[in-house]
C-alpha cells in the first residue's frame, strides 16, 4: 500500500515499512494510509486515507481535540509497548517499596532507620492488583511471578488474564481496593476510568498500600492523592504519568518522599520508533484483507 507519515517523519519506521513492501509517498493526497505521531492534521483528512495509524496507545486527547472523528478508521499502538511500560511499572513499584526517592532526598546514611522501617517487599507474599489488563499486564505478570506474589487482574470483561491468580471484572472489583497491597494502574482513560482512584478508594486501601500509575494521569484524582499521602492513608505512590501533565515544578507531590515520579518516560517517541513497525504492518494487512484491524480504535469504547 502507499503510505505517508505526517507531519513528523520517523525515518527508521518509514524504512522498515517500505522494507515490508509498502511504498512511501510524501504527498498526503497519494497515500492509502497515514502514520501519525502527533501534530496538526488537515481537517477533514483527504478521502484517500483509508486509515490512520497512531503510534501511541492513548487516544483520549485526540478524541477530545476532535482530531479523531467518526468517518475515518484509526488504529493505535495498543499492546506494542507492553514490555517497556511493564519494565517501568516494575521499576516504579520496586523503587517506591524500597524508598529510593527517600534515600535520594536524604542523601545520608542517617536515613537508614527510617528507610528500614518504611520499606516494603515483594518477596513476602503481598497481593498485587493489575488494573487494566492488556499488554502491560501481559508484560508485568511474568516479572512479578518469581517473587511469589498473588496477582489479581482487573479488566472490563472479567475474561481470565493469563498468569493472574484471579481475574475480576471492573464492575465486581470493589473488594479488591481493600484487599491488595499494591496496585498497578494500566487502563486507558475513558469516561468510566477518569478519576477512578479518588479519596473514596484511598480510604478503602490498606495503610501499607502502594499505587503505581503507568496508564494516564487522570485515572487518579491528584488532590486526593496528595491528601492520602500526607495523612498516611496509603504508604506510597509511583507514577510515570500525572494530572496535570507535565506536573508543574513546585507541585507538592515532588516534595513527598512517598511519591516517586518519572516524567512520562515509559512509551516515549524513542521507544515507539523502535517498536511500532510490527503493529503497523499487521494493521495494514488486515485493512487490505477487508478485516477489522488488530488495534483498530473503537470510538464508542474510547480506546
Amino acid at each position: 500500500m502507499k503510505f505517508t507519515m505526517y507531519p513528523g517523519v520517523w525515518d527508521n519506521v518509514v524504512a522498515e515499512v517500505e522494507e515490508a513492501g509498502h511504498e512511501f509517498v510524501s504527498d498526503l493526497h497519494q497515500a492509502e494510509f497515514l502514520i501519525y505521531a502527533g501534530g496538526r492534521l488537515p481537517d477533514p483528512l483527504p478521502e484517500n486515507i483509508g486509515f490512520v495509524q497512531f503510534v501511541f496507545s492513548g487516544i483520549d486527547r485526540l478524541v477530545d481535540a476532535g482530531v479523531i472523528q467518526p468517518g475515518t478508521r484509526w488504529a493505535n499502538a495498543a499492546g506494542a509497548y507492553g514490555r517497556p511500560v511493564a519494565e517501568i511499572a516494575m521499576t516504579l513499584l520496586l523503587a517506591q517499596l524500597h524508598q529510593v526517592k527517600a534515600a535520594g532526598m536524604a542523601a545520608s546514611f542517617q536515613a537508614r532507620g527510617h528507610i528500614d522501617a518504611a520499606q516494603g517487599w515483594l518477596f513476602d507474599g503481598p497481593t498485587v492488583a493489575i488494573v487494566g489488563a492488556g499488554g502491560i499486564a501481559d508484560g508485568i505478570i511474568p516479572m512479578l511471578r518469581p517473587f511469589g506474589v498473588r496477582i489479581i487482574a482487573v479488566n472490563r470483561s472479567g475474561r481470565a488474564v493469563e498468569g493472574a491468580d484471579e481475574t475480576i471484572a471492573m464492575a465486581d472489583a470493589e473488594w479488591v481496593w481493600s484487599e491488595a497491597d499494591a496496585f498497578v494502574l494500566a487502563m486507558p482513560l475513558t469516561d468510566q476510568t477518569r478519576g477512578v482512584v479518588d479519596a473514596e478508594r484511598f480510604a478503602q486501601m490498606k495503610e501499607s498500600a502502594v499505587v503505581v500509575n503507568v496508564g494516564r494521569g487522570e485515572l487518579i484524582v491528584t488532590d486526593d492523592l496528595v491528601e492520602a499521602l500526607r495523612t498516611g492513608q496509603i504508604a506510597g505512590a509511583a507514577m510515570d504519568v500525572t494530572d496535570p501533565e507535565p506536573l508543574p515544578d513546585g507541585h507538592p507531590l515532588w516534595r513527598l518522599p512517598t511519591c516517586t515520579i518519572t516524567p512520562h518516560i515509559a512509551a516515549t517517541g524513542r521507544i515507539a520508533s523502535r517498536l511500532i513497525t510490527p503493529t503497523i504492518l499487521a494493521n495494514a494487512a488486515a485493512f487490505e484483507a477487508g478485516e477489522r484491524m488488530p488495534t483498530e480504535v473503537d470510538l464508542r469504547k474510547g480506546y
Partner: protein
C-alpha cells in the same frame, strides 16, 4: 541443645530456637551453642571449650577471619549465608532498574524538564542485555530467577566456575575469561564475599575494561569497589552508572561527592536490615544447630580455610 546468645539477646531469635526444641540458658558455661551478634572483639577470649558451635547472623565473616578465629581449632562456625537471598536479590533488582531508568535524576530534578535527558540516557533491560552476577551463591541464584522474565543473558561468576543454576554461563572469578566478562556484560551485580582476593576488585583497571554504558550494582560489601576509582569513572563517563546499598567507607559521610552524582544511586545499607536480621537469624540457627546435632555439615557452615 542448650544455647545462649551474646552480647545482645534478640527475643525473636531465642523464640525461634526454643520453638524448635532448643533450650536457652543464661550461663555461657552451660551452653553448647552460641548465637553471637557482635564483632570479634566482644567474643569471650578464649571461647570456653563447652561452646562447640557459633552462629553469626550475617553472611560476611571477614572480621572473624582477620582475627584468626575461623581457622583456629575450636568451635565450628555458621553464618547467615543464604538467609538473605530474597531480600538482597530483590534489593539488587530494584537498584539495577532504578539506576537504568535514572530515578535519581528524576528525584533530584523534581521536574518534567528532565524528561528529554532521562529519555536519551536511560537504558532498558528488555533490549537484549547481558547481566553478570558476580558471586553467585544463594543470593545470585535468586537474582537470576528474578531476572529471567526480563529475558536478559546472564553470566554467573563464582569461585569454582561450577555451573550456576539459571545462568547462561558460569565463569570462575580467577579465570582469564574475566577480562572478557568485564568487557562484554552490560550490567554487573556484585554479591561476592569480601576476601583478600575480592577487596577492591572493581578498581580503575576493571572499570576501564567496561563498556561506557555499563552500570555496576553493589549489594555485597563496600570495599569490593575502590571508591575513589568509581568516583572518577562516574565523573568522566568511563561507565554510565552505579547503584550502591553498601559503601566504603560506611556509613558514607554526608559530604562525600558520590551523594552529589546523579548517576550514582545510594541506599543506606537497607537490603539486609537489623529488623530483617532478627527475624531470620533464629530460623537459620535452627537449621544449623539441627544439622550440627545430627553430626552433619551445617547448611551455612563457614569454611575456615577459605574465609567464608
Amino acid at each position: 541443645m542448650k544455647f545462649t546468645m551474646l552480647p545482645t539477646v534478640w527475643d525473636e531469635t531465642v523464640a525461634e530456637l526454643e520453638a524448635a526444641g532448643h533450650e536457652f540458658v543464661e550461663d555461657l558455661a552451660q551452653a553448647r551453642g552460641l548465637v553471637f551478634n557482635a564483632g570479634p572483639e566482644k567474643l569471650p577470649d578464649p571461647v570456653p571449650e563447652n561452646i562447640e558451635v557459633i552462629q553469626l547472623p550475617f553472611a560476611g565473616v571477614e572480621p572473624f577471619n582477620d582475627a584468626g578465629l575461623l581457622a583456629a581449632d575450636g568451635p565450628r562456625w555458621a553464618n547467615g549465608a543464604g538467609l538473605y537471598a530474597d531480600t538482597v536479590a530483590e534489593s539488587a533488582l530494584s537498584l539495577l532498574l532504578a539506576q537504568l531508568h535514572l530515578l535519581k535524576t528524576a528525584v533530584t530534578s523534581a521536574s518534567f524538564d528532565s524528561a528529554d535527558t532521562i529519555d536519551a540516557h536511560k537504558q532498558w533491560l528488555f533490549e537484549d542485555k547481558t547481566v553478570a552476577v558476580i558471586g553467585a551463591g544463594g543470593i545470585g541464584v535468586r537474582l537470576l530467577e528474578l531476572l529471567a522474565p526480563h529475558r536478559v543473558s546472564t553470566i554467573a561468576v563464582n569461585r569454582s566456575g561450577r555451573p550456576v543454576t539459571g545462568a547462561d554461563r558460569t565463569v570462575a572469578i580467577d579465570d582469564a575469561a574475566m577480562d572478557e566478562v568485564w568487557a562484554t556484560a552490560d550490567y554487573f551485580v556484585l554479591i561476592m564475599p569480601l576476601t583478600d582476593q575480592t577487596r577492591h576488585m572493581v578498581n580503575a583497571e576493571v572499570l576501564g575494561k567496561m563498556k561506557s554504558t555499563a552500570v555496576v550494582v553493589n549489594v555485597g560489601r563496600g570495599p569490593l569497589i575502590h571508591t575513589d576509582d568509581l568516583l572518577a569513572a562516574l565523573r568522566d563517563g568511563t561507565i554510565a552508572g552505579a547503584a550502591l546499598d553498601v559503601t566504603d567507607p560506611e556509613p558514607l559521610p554526608d559530604d562525600h561527592p558520590l551523594w552529589g552524582l546523579d548517576n550514582c544511586l545510594i541506599t543506606p545499607h537497607v537490603a539486609n536490615t537489623p529488623s530483617m536480621v532478627r527475624a531470620l537469624t533464629g530460623q537459620q540457627a535452627v537449621r544449623n544447630f539441627d544439622a550440627f546435632e545430627a553430626g552433619e555439615t551445617m547448611p551455612a557452615e563457614v569454611d575456615g580455610k577459605a574465609g567464608y
